[in-house]
């Protein structure tokens, strides 16, 4: 049987980074990196941005050149799915029936897009946005598409809506909540993005529940809402969140309610099994509560990958990285630092209408996060405020003319 010192499941953002970081630290053990996509490791953020827009070729999404993996003695196995984990025997099995014995197992399998409860049959024209293959399918259909319905007003849905609008499609966004970005941002930011999308011609339906998909000859023709209305559609994008990819771990006995539970070293409850990235429910020192959370970001996948690599080489350091994120829609560049969930107050800095402003999120008077739209300076200087949990007067914060670093210095 094959044996590898480190077996990494999932050749995405986090898994690829574990392998690369181990080699950078001159780790000499054997490494297998197993991914079910046919693609060499690549970055996902452009999928709903430049790649969908046709502005960036796939080659530029590759995290490393194709010859990197073999060149660093990383046994990259693409197009293979790990279907089971036997923790006693320290073994995994792939869909092809191959078994590999591991010294350490790193679970970096990410998440799969959530599907609509009413999606019983596979319909042509209905898409999710997670992999290169998903986007290639969308792009292949686009020339025949006039009307698009995007279900879900989260970042991915809104980014796709922005790109498709720019490509000249008539786009409707359907959001079940009463505002977009409800899960990740405060109301001011939601309202701002709603206005921007409407200004660009997007038809935004808030508090709207999808009831069914209408089809003809196996192809979607409309989205039916609970209020009885039908939205005609040549193409539907379902962007309603993800389900962590953890079922083989759950079968192996791990607690996986919303992601697999890990400690601050990304260790699961099974010996020699780590998990990280989108699928890992972890304790985050920047989260408002003490409950485990999952983050879906490049920052989190990458920094947790570093934590795992450090553990494997015997230099463990707990996960303590500051969360950050970005989203690009139209000419709006959003940069986020910290985690706003659980805030009890929010202060807008600058002028919302000008499209250049930040929202500072507070909890019990302390700065816990910032959403910065086209204001790089606040993003950069806000990091220190979030790290310190700075207490700053609301009125001073609201004055966009005073740099945050001046306020931080005054508060210190």
């Amino acid at each position: 049987m094959d044996q590898r010192d480190v077996v990494i499941v999932g050749a995405g953002q986090g898994g690829a980074q574990v392998a690369a970081a181990l080699r950078r630290e001159h780790y000499t053990g054997s490494i297998a990196l197993i991914g079910d996509e046919p693609e060499f490791p690549y970055e996902r953020p452009p999928l709903s941005k430049d790649y969908l827009a046709g502005d960036k070729p796939f080659e530029q999404l590759l995290l490393r050149p194709r010859d990197f993996w073999a060149g660093h003695e990383i046994d990259l196995r693409l197009g293979q799915r790990v279907v089971s984990v036997n923790p006693q025997a320290h073994r995994i099995r792939t869909s092809e029936g191959a078994e590999i014995e591991y010294g350490t197992l790193v679970w970096a399998a990410g998440a799969s897009p959530r599907r609509l409860p009413c999606e019983r049959d596979v319909l042509a024209g209905v898409h999710v946005v997670r992999t290169r293959a998903d986007i290639d399918r969308v792009m292949a259909e686009l020339p025949q598409v006039r009307r698009v319905v995007v279900i879900g007003g989260g970042y991915i849905g809104l980014e796709a809506a922005a790109v498709l609008t720019k490509l000249g499609k008539a786009v409707t966004v359907v959001e079940a909540q009463t505002r977009v970005l409800a899960r990740v941002a405060g109301e001011a930011l939601s309202r701002f993005y709603e206005a921007q999308h409407r200004r660009h011609g997007v038809d935004l339906k808030l508090g709207a529940l999808v009831d069914h998909l209408t089809s003809r000859d196996g192809k979607v023709t409309a989205v039916g809402l609970a209020d009885g209305s039908e939205l005609p559609a040549d193409l539907v994008i379902v962007g309603i969140g993800v389900v962590p990819a953890t079922s083989p771990l759950a079968d192996a006995g791990l607690e996986c309610r919303n992601g697999v539970k890990v400690d601050e070293y990304c260790r699961t409850a099974l010996p020699d099994v780590y998990a990280l990235g989108d699928c890992a429910a972890h304790i985050n020192r920047f989260a408002a509560g003490s409950a485990p959370i999952r983050l879906e970001s490049v920052q989190n996948a990458n920094d947790q990958a570093t934590v795992v690599a450090q553990c494997i080489i015997g230099k463990p350091a707990p996960y303590a990285a500051l969360p950050w994120f970005w989203s690009d829609q139209y000419d709006l560049h959003l940069k986020t630092v910290g985690l706003s969930t659980g805030h009890d107050d929010a202060v807008v800095r600058g002028d919302l209408d000008s499209g250049t402003f930040s929202v500072v999120y507070l909890k019990q008077g302390r700065v816990i996060a910032l959403d910065c739209v086209n204001v790089m300076r606040d993003f950069v200087q806000g990091k220190n405020l979030v790290r310190a949990g700075a207490v700053i007067d609301r009125e001073a914060l609201a004055d966009g003319g005073t740099p945050l670093k001046t306020l931080a210095a005054a508060a210190a």
Binding site: A20, R24, E43, P45, P46, E59, Q60, L61, L62, R64, P65, D67, F68, G71, V298, Q299, N302, W324, W326, D328, H333, K335, M376, R377, F379, V380, Q381, K383
Partner: protein, 105 residues
């Protein structure tokens, strides 16, 4: 096409062929310069593509945008010729440019 001369943190030299239209970050990442993480894929969000440009070459690059300047301000290792390599598109006037990868923040 022109040559981009890269010096890694460890002092190794890597010579790359740069193509017009590509950013220096893209050229370096595709060329196997491992120290360039480029976490944000060139969207001016992460500064993990930070380089020091050879002083004689610096003025050839032209001015940087405010966003790049502000993001560089967040780096502990900003120097007089610091640039974010994802924000520099290669063009013919940049032939034979020399850069050094800045330390990790």
């Amino acid at each position: 096409m022109g040559t981009l001369y890269v010096e890694t943190r460890e002092g190794d030299q890597i010579d790359l062929q740069a193509e017009p239209g590509q950013s220096l970050m893209e050229t370096m990442r595709a060329g196997g310069v491992e120290e360039i993480l480029a976490l944000c894929g060139g969207t001016c969000s992460c500064s993990t593509c930070h380089v020091y440009v050879e002083p004689e070459d610096f003025s050839r690059l032209g001015p940087m945008k405010d966003d790049e300047n502000d993001l560089l301000d967040g780096s502990d290792h900003r120097g007089p010729t610091s640039r974010l390599s994802c924000q520099i598109r290669y063009r013919e006037e940049l032939a034979d440019l020399h850069v050094k990868i800045a330390p990790e923040d």
